[in-house]
């Protein structure tokens, strides 16, 4: 059992800055949990507190049944992979991995067995006696992985381990890590600022902002059902469009769900606008469209040119409403009322298929 629990955890640095306040979080046993958020949001601090590399100012952290709040990093049954690999530069690949095992007091035979196993697992057999300076970034990251795997811990912590790799290698390592998680069945906690990484790798996602958890859930849940404006705009590529409605609330919709032509059985809003910029992504394009409700993004396979006058169709079921505190409005009656009120907004039309009275132009 190695679920991780934060109970009312606060972290205040000696300079008086509180980076994490009242953190209550449970990381499920055997999950691949990704902590994601912008720089300085507290995700790395949270990870380092699990590892024991940062003191906990207040509150309690449990790994499994044990309270580890005051334990030394080496006694917590955790392994960690660092952003800059943290390979000991003066030791060979083998010695790098051995160092921790020897400190644990394992027998020689045990160490040799584990070494052989992990070195072949990450494909570094040829380099067992090489110095790290002779190896590439990807290979160094594999040493770090091998070192972590060799400890056979129930918790596996990773602090932006892919951010120093080039794009192609990063994609490859991503799937290797997913595979590794399946094989090891231990609890993975992965920190990243890249929401794409979070969405593709995580079984669970925890979205941080300014030291607080904004939402937790599976990738699908946080994408389809965001709790607040922050999550809506942070998750997705690109994030949700948010437009203000008469000061009191906000309307959100995904750029992917907006259309330039009216779909069948359409019921929703139509925004007339003009294409400002167009980024070709290959299969589809990303358009910046200036409308009466501000500039919005549309990701569409339909071809439009710079300067074209267009109508943007957003279906009712694709609309999300947020209140003045940027929290999601889930009350059905209130949503209906808000949908009606958009009608009153100048330059916006509400279309009903076959009703004939609407349409953009």
């Amino acid at each position: 059992m190695s679920a991780i629990q934060f109970e009312n955890v606060r972290k205040t640095y000696p300079n008086g800055k509180t980076v994490i306040d009242q953190l209550n979080l449970e990381i499920r046993d055997s999950s691949f949990t990704v902590l994601v958020g912008p720089s300085g949001c507290g995700k790395t601090t949270a990870l380092r507190m699990i590892a024991g590399l940062e003191d906990v100012s207040e509150g309690m952290i449990r790994i499994g049944a044990a309270n580890v709040t005051k334990l030394e990093p080496g006694d917590r049954d955790v392994a960690m992979v660092f952003q800059n690999y943290a390979i000991y530069p003066h030791m060979t690949v083998k010695r790098n991995i051995e160092f921790g095992l020897k400190n644990q007091g394992l027998s020689k035979a045990d160490i040799v067995r584990r070494l052989d196993h992990v070195i072949s697992q990450v494909g570094l057999e040829q380099y067992a006696n090489a110095m790290p300076s002779m190896l590439s970034g990807g290979q160094r990251q594999r040493i770090a992985l091998a070192r972590a795997i060799s400890k056979q811990t129930s918790v596996f912590l990773m602090d932006e381990p892919l951010s120093n790799l080039d794009a192609k290698l990063r994609n490859q390592m991503r799937s290797e890590l997913i595979q590794l998680h399946k094989n090891l069945q231990s609890t993975f906690v992965f920190v990243t600022h890249d929401q794409v990484e979070a969405m593709t790798m995580g079984t669970d996602i925890v979205i941080f902002n300014e030291g607080r958890v904004m939402q937790t859930g599976t990738p699908k849940e946080v994408y389809n059902n965001p709790d607040n404006v922050f999550v809506a705009t942070f998750i997705g590529d690109p994030g949700m469009n948010i437009v203000s409605l008469r000061m009191t609330c906000q309307l959100g919709f995904r750029p992917q769900r907006a259309r330039f032509t009216m779909p069948e059985r359409f019921q929703g809003v139509v925004l007339p606008g003009e294409i400002m910029t167009c980024e070709t992504l290959g299969m589809d394009s990303l358009y910046h469209v200036r409308t009466t409700m501000g500039t919005i993004l549309v990701k569409s396979e339909e071809e439009r040119e710079f300067g074209d006058n267009v109508s943007v169709y957003v279906a009712e079921q694709d609309m999300f409403f947020f209140d003045m505190h940027e929290q999601r409005i889930r009350d059905a009656g209130r949503i209906l009322q808000l949908t009606q009120s958009i009608l009153l907004k100048e330059g916006v039309y509400v279309a009903r298929e076959h009703s004939g009275e609407a349409a953009a132009r």
């Binding site: 000696p14 030394e72 660092f82 530069p89 921790g100 400190n103 644990q104």
Partner: protein, 273 residues
């Protein structure tokens, strides 16, 4: 035009090199002259025949074995002592926050700026009270502390990536192990550089040794070699004196050549973060 600048630059370099090399050349040349050659005017650049016997005479007159042994004892033990005292101090300054750490580090820096002439009287009085005048411990123990070594190693330790230490903590390494197995090997080029400075400084030290000793028993080579100037009944036998100086310098040159290669190697291996 470009060629002219290059020629000019090369000539300047050669001139500079000559300025640096000449004293060495003159010392070695003089050490191989006869007494007459060494004082003749105009001076001869090179000896007519090589007088290697000067070296034998210098060796015997200086009691090289006795003073050389003293020099080696004092230098080696000072270096060892500095490793023992300054490495942990530097590690603490670089990696720990403790009460008044900033203040103590400032003290180290202040000491770095104080010339020895300011502090030698109180230090003499102190060591005299200890009864350490004319003893090995008087020549060694006070010098196991070095502001320069602490400052230099602190800077070296500070450059080491924090992640490495975090990784070592997760590897269940104790503080002592982190210092010895991780920090020291990575900072090796810096440590060797500091030790080289210490060795050269201690080997050549004249001032402190002269102050802290009265008799020949624990005195070191520089003072003994200086004595060569006074032995010829008021006549300075420069050829013998220079032979003594070459003997005094030789170990340092060898040490430097050896350590220089080692430092380069260490930099290549230690060069990744």
């Amino acid at each position: 035009m470009k060629l002219a600048i290059r020629i000019l630059r090369s000539m300047l370099m050669i001139a500079l090199m000559l300025i640096f090399i000449f004293p060495f050349f003159w010392m070695i040349s003089t050490s191989l002259k006869t007494y007459i050659e060494s004082i003749q005017f105009p001076p001869a650049m090179l000896p007519k025949s090589l007088q290697f016997s000067n070296y034998v005479e210098a060796w015997v007159r200086v009691k090289f074995f006795h003073f050389g042994l003293n020099s080696i004892i004092v230098t080696v033990l000072t270096m060892a002592g500095q490793l023992f005292v300054c490495v942990p101090a530097a590690y603490a300054f670089a990696r720990k926050k403790f009460a008044l750490s900033g203040f103590f580090f400032a003290l180290v820096l202040v000491d770095l700026m104080l010339p020895a002439q300011v502090t030698f009287v109180p230090i003499y009085v102190l060591l005299s009270d200890f009864g350490w005048i004319d003893t090995y411990q008087g020549l060694i123990i006070p010098f196991t502390y070095s502001s320069f070594a602490i400052f230099f190693m602190t800077q070296a330790f500070k450059q080491i990536n924090n992640e490495l230490l975090d990784a070592a903590k997760l590897d269940k390494a104790t503080e002592l192990k982190i210092m010895i197995r991780i920090m020291l090997p990575i900072a090796k080029p810096y440590i060797i550089t500091v030790m080289l400075f210490t060795a050269i400084g201690k080997w050549n030290d004249y001032f402190w040794t002269l102050i802290l000793t009265n008799s020949e028993s624990v005195r070191t080579l520089p003072i003994a070699v200086k004595g060569l100037l006074d032995v010829g009944d008021g006549v300075n036998q420069w050829n013998i004196s220079m032979a003594g100086n070459v003997l005094l310098m030789a170990p340092i040159l060898v040490l430097y050549l050896f350590a220089n290669r080692f430092i380069k190697n260490a930099f290549v291996y230690g060069g990744i973060k």
